[in-house]
Symmetry: D3
Subunit: 312 residues, 6 copies
Amino acid sequence: MNGSLKIFSGRSHPHLAQKIARILDIPVGKSHVTRFSNENLMVQIDENVRGADVFVIQTSAPPVNEGLVELLITIDALRHASAERITAVMPYFPYVRSDKKDKPRISITARLMADLLQTAGADRVLTMDLHAPQIQGFFRVPVDHLQAIPIIADYLQRRDLSNHVLVAGDASEAKDVGRYANRLRLPMAIIDKRRYDDSEQAKAAHLIGDVRGKHAIIVDDEVATGGTLMEAAAFLKEQGAESVIAAFTHAVLSGTAVERVDASVIEQLVFTDTIPLQGKESKKFEVISVAEVFAKAIRRIHKGDSISDLFH
Amino acid sequence: MNGSLKIFSGRSHPHLAQKIARILDIPVGKSHVTRFSNENLMVQIDENVRGADVFVIQTSAPPVNEGLVELLITIDALRHASAERITAVMPYFPYVRSDKKDKPRISITARLMADLLQTAGADRVLTMDLHAPQIQGFFRVPVDHLQAIPIIADYLQRRDLSNHVLVAGDASEAKDVGRYANRLRLPMAIIDKRRYDDSEQAKAAHLIGDVRGKHAIIVDDEVATGGTLMEAAAFLKEQGAESVIAAFTHAVLSGTAVERVDASVIEQLVFTDTIPLQGKESKKFEVISVAEVFAKAIRRIHKGDSISDLFH
Amino acid sequence: MNGSLKIFSGRSHPHLAQKIARILDIPVGKSHVTRFSNENLMVQIDENVRGADVFVIQTSAPPVNEGLVELLITIDALRHASAERITAVMPYFPYVRSDKKDKPRISITARLMADLLQTAGADRVLTMDLHAPQIQGFFRVPVDHLQAIPIIADYLQRRDLSNHVLVAGDASEAKDVGRYANRLRLPMAIIDKRRYDDSEQAKAAHLIGDVRGKHAIIVDDEVATGGTLMEAAAFLKEQGAESVIAAFTHAVLSGTAVERVDASVIEQLVFTDTIPLQGKESKKFEVISVAEVFAKAIRRIHKGDSISDLFH
Amino acid sequence: MNGSLKIFSGRSHPHLAQKIARILDIPVGKSHVTRFSNENLMVQIDENVRGADVFVIQTSAPPVNEGLVELLITIDALRHASAERITAVMPYFPYVRSDKKDKPRISITARLMADLLQTAGADRVLTMDLHAPQIQGFFRVPVDHLQAIPIIADYLQRRDLSNHVLVAGDASEAKDVGRYANRLRLPMAIIDKRRYDDSEQAKAAHLIGDVRGKHAIIVDDEVATGGTLMEAAAFLKEQGAESVIAAFTHAVLSGTAVERVDASVIEQLVFTDTIPLQGKESKKFEVISVAEVFAKAIRRIHKGDSISDLFH
Amino acid sequence: MNGSLKIFSGRSHPHLAQKIARILDIPVGKSHVTRFSNENLMVQIDENVRGADVFVIQTSAPPVNEGLVELLITIDALRHASAERITAVMPYFPYVRSDKKDKPRISITARLMADLLQTAGADRVLTMDLHAPQIQGFFRVPVDHLQAIPIIADYLQRRDLSNHVLVAGDASEAKDVGRYANRLRLPMAIIDKRRYDDSEQAKAAHLIGDVRGKHAIIVDDEVATGGTLMEAAAFLKEQGAESVIAAFTHAVLSGTAVERVDASVIEQLVFTDTIPLQGKESKKFEVISVAEVFAKAIRRIHKGDSISDLFH
Amino acid sequence: MNGSLKIFSGRSHPHLAQKIARILDIPVGKSHVTRFSNENLMVQIDENVRGADVFVIQTSAPPVNEGLVELLITIDALRHASAERITAVMPYFPYVRSDKKDKPRISITARLMADLLQTAGADRVLTMDLHAPQIQGFFRVPVDHLQAIPIIADYLQRRDLSNHVLVAGDASEAKDVGRYANRLRLPMAIIDKRRYDDSEQAKAAHLIGDVRGKHAIIVDDEVATGGTLMEAAAFLKEQGAESVIAAFTHAVLSGTAVERVDASVIEQLVFTDTIPLQGKESKKFEVISVAEVFAKAIRRIHKGDSISDLFH
């Protein structure tokens, strides 16, 4: 790209945007959002962006829907302000779990999000650990899809992992656990949850594989209320696990998640900063930053270097 | 249309949807919205809509941005559920005042709204009193644009209007006041506001026309915080107005608007129910319902009858 | 932009195109239009434009519809000839007053024009004083919207303006007059026209504000036949105005406008050269050129500099 | 189609529209065009068209470009007035000979026309004898392409055609002559025109085939100025033809065509009424109406019957 | 739908099309494909389809790419022939496993297929058991996604399933096996395959869960060469399985699959007829027809009845 | 273009791609196609293409439909890999003779091809000798249309052409023969084929013009099975031609074309290498390479130089 590299930050995660900008050694671009008393937003870009190669950083964090609309308005403002190329940098993609039609007459909202971003004017998307890799196919514009698994796995590998086992909380998460297992060369186990009736909730029925006397690491792509995770941890302890920790990318931690984590048998939560903690705290949290991998990816996209090389 | 007429209501104004449905003598369609702890919405349509002529009623009301995203998801769900035609019924259109680029590098967000609705799958739009009539040109799909002025004017005409004068709070609102003036055959006056410096706020400088000893009716399309309205009323009293009331379509009444109205010299606010009051109350409020005109318009759209005939 | 800057001129206003090109110190690009005996047009670009940053200058002037089609064909030819970027420079935008649906079953033709230009291949638009600022929202491509009011106001300010008053010929034009009033710090007045019956024509009924003993300046965005303007001037004289002049951007001056102006009480018409006079002459005309502001805007668009800075 | 069949006529050929409507036994729909003094057009549809199956009849005739813009505006008005389906009926398609890029940096304007019609909102096109059959591929919407050759051939067959020969005025027209030859079972000849230098005009060099002592019928799809035709006729006489007549579909007859025809050796011109004569007259003209074939096609399109059956 | 229901069959699976048509009690529509010596295809629809509700049945079967192009051409022909609605019925969707970007610089070809179908003119898609449910989100047009699991599970349930276990051949297939397990109330096991080096092939390393002394049912969505399946079967026998059968939806069975199946320890293959066997035979095959579920779905789509009701 | 020039070759004609690359003095880009046993293709680009100006060379050759799908997948992969511009270089365009709707309810497949290429992501097309020049109008993206006639004519001119005549095998090919005739200044003749009944095949009925005692050169744009060509040659001999050769651009030579040529009266076939011979051989073949003109065109497109200059 000939245009200069510019980074703008939405209101969702300014801390991460600052970190990324610092690594790239450029300032965060000037812009401001006015929220009128009628809740309408006005986004103004306060510096010239004609011909620039602009990256807008906005993760999905509460208030989720307002953050999304803010991003769409920002992209629209940048487009009409003649930015040469606009990349939506969305470390945690909104509505990423609404990726299939598992009930009649619902929306595959992650696809709708992709369409709305393209309508607003996004030329590219940079994101991390989409719930399913197929979601990349929801976009017509190029998507660079970063992975946190190598970063988290590197972090875990600093400890002694002998006698550890990786656990998927559900058969549908078995794929992800396989990717960790391959990197860490650890055995794996899967919790077999069953629901024989639409009215009941799925419950852990069996453990496929073995955790007895071992240290279990439950892996997942995101943790929301933590309900499923707490249940899985308790079940693993029943099955004889020596200890339980969890590793995941996106720390949604909504509702009473923090209190539940603190009160649970889980000893540690290892996750990244794709979502701001917004004041949530626990001694059990280990946060690994993705700022560097995003900064590197942005520089490579700007320079036209390969992103896949970033992972080798 | 061959398909059956169905009305669905978003969560913004169920009361108005119920009223419209009652007039049309059909039930509001079954659907429900789940708001997960991570603030993601899931909209499910709970009845078959294949081939149906669907109207979704969602006005712009707090939480504004969430209401908008809910509407987009609902339309997407209906489209994939094979509705034959989807009309977004939006009594108060979101971001309607963001209709021009009066600052550098901002979004004309009302146009963006039009594009997002079309991307989600809206085939038509039914709305009321857009801030400027040009906004209808933001849409590629057909728009039916209802007017509240005839309804409000009819209501006002029930009183003795001799010795009344219509007032525009600003030169830019003079056009609307002209439309009232023509219907009510009343004289008009305009408050001339000036701002000679970007740093100051526009202030009422002169009155063009005369209100001395007369009953003033300030007219506008919407009232948000009411700040401008209160100032105008006080200024008219200074200029010798006998009394001041206000008439407008969209009662946003955000922030401390109700308290300010109650404490002000304004004697009455006449407005419609395009926006739910959500518990706001004042003895000064006179609310006129638009349910009937929307119900008639929906029936005509469904039957293929002319909407313009509705106003003659 | 990397591509070289090139300017092409349609047949509507070659004089303005020459002036702009001279200021930019580049030649007008070689092209020619063949009009066959069957009235079909063939536009041929006579120099290589691959990779170039092309600006096509075509204002709306008689023959209006042919000029429009010529522009669409020119843009199509440039696009297929691999121009990198095509900006339609339209000092007076065609069908700019057809910007709303104020009658049943008509076209909002200004929006149609925007769509046709984008279909032909326009990547941007550069225009001046659209009848309503909302029209900018009719475009999906970026629009740079220049203003003549600062230029005309500067010109007027060279005279002694004490005892002058600005007048809007109609409540619907009050907004524009407010923008002049703010710059020139002059009082304003508005002619209140009424039409109580669809069959009659709107007539000046009252004057809101005061012109007695003052020099009146009627301001507007365009003057077509001049009928409204003549009537307004006569009415102001009746109301005691000392003298009347008019200031406006776009001099359509169609039909017998010139004869009527010469015979009227109006002493002077101050306007710009966005439309060629095509031989129309009057001692009352004062023409201010917009060539410089267009040339500056084109240079800034080409270089990626801010246009909003142009007005500070 | 469920919607009722409606026919509207542009201003280009009201006589043909009336004829078609009469055959279909329905009135021409009410609409009117206002041409303001600034040459802007306003098209208003004066009856309800919601849900209707609308056919707009507008041929390409002087003023060509204005007629085209009028058609685009009419379609746009109908679309926003909620017509269910809009078919542009264009007996002579505009810019039909601009169908290839035979010079550098020109527009294939017939394709642009197709795109503009679709942008305005045409759902289908009904036309006749496109200059090349490939032009049908310029459209994404369905096109029904009627042929005049069977009608004209039927007409010619009423005379004694023994000792007649069909002639193409140019190698590039040989294809059409072949289609006539097949129907009429007549021999054919081709005028071999050559141009060995870009600066000269192509001239008849040889006759391929034989016309000596025969009655020649020159066939073509359209005649514009008639220059080519006159030359061909003179050349055929030189080559010994007994007599010369011409048969073609579209009678553009622009410039001094009528005078030239009257003064020429050609004895008769047989053509259709796809284009109005607009007062042009000659004893040599034989006009065959296409109203019936258009009426039949419209009825079949409306009823969902096959059009190809129309030609068997 | 008002238009009549019509079914057309491509050349890929005429037998299934015949079966579906027989159940629906309508004939397969008349059409034929000409394959010229240059391998170009010409598809001609031999009956009128104006206004019809057309379903084109074409599964993905060898020659795969030619079948795809044939389908695109057929849809294009139907669209230009004015079919009212075109549904592509694709029991086995082409390139369904190319649904993610698991290598640098490859195409997510299943998404490309969705786009190509929409470009050709498909208004809807009806398919079965997409490799991942997210693929439904690749379409902008409505998709009805049928499931074979209930049909296959019903079939299996006719036998005595005590002492059976369901097995996923890979962690990434665990999700599907979970859906069978829930229906059949059987335990499950997963083969843990590992590949610690890009150069090696993934190999079965462990069994998670237990098959000793049990009858194993390997489930999957499709079987191509059968290599993975054979290996899994052999591995299960090593792990002590009493017997091994396989159940899956799409029988691609390419290359030497049949010979390998016959020579393997697998006792039975239960699958559907979404893909024609094209002469492949084995005593081990048990084929269950999906014709009825497709016929029912087509009837419901045509009548506007709910498809989700079909599964309750 | 700023991005570096890169050439990739599909599997259809690697020899031509190599030749072009050698002339341009750059290597053919690294990529590979995997054809799985289920006939699905996976195209992987093996080098970074971000920001590059990519040309993909793929001609239409057996297997035709697979080659087409391979090209679409390659373009999709390049687009998602962030190539700056993708030009599809298609020396022989697929389905180029399916360019009109000469039967009811067929597809104009050449137009469909254009749409599919654009959907996949082609930004430009570079091709040669489309069957009709109108086909260029099927594209919305820029097309550079190279001509082989000048190259073939230059080649023929090296021999003594006195006493030669150019022959079109059919009236519909007369246009092309005219273009040769002009360049070579030779007389021409046309075979008049007739078919008076749909059931019979068109047969040579007469010769228009004269070949007696002359050397005939039959010219065409392509030869497929050669049937038409053989018949024409035999007919010319009957009419007294001294000898017959053929000159054409695209050597499809499908079916038993080579054997028929060898057994025929035709003495020589002069054609280009737009299509690989794939092992077909004959002493009668004279092959002229188009590699140089393609290489020059690619260099000019990349540098932004005029292509039309290439032909002067």
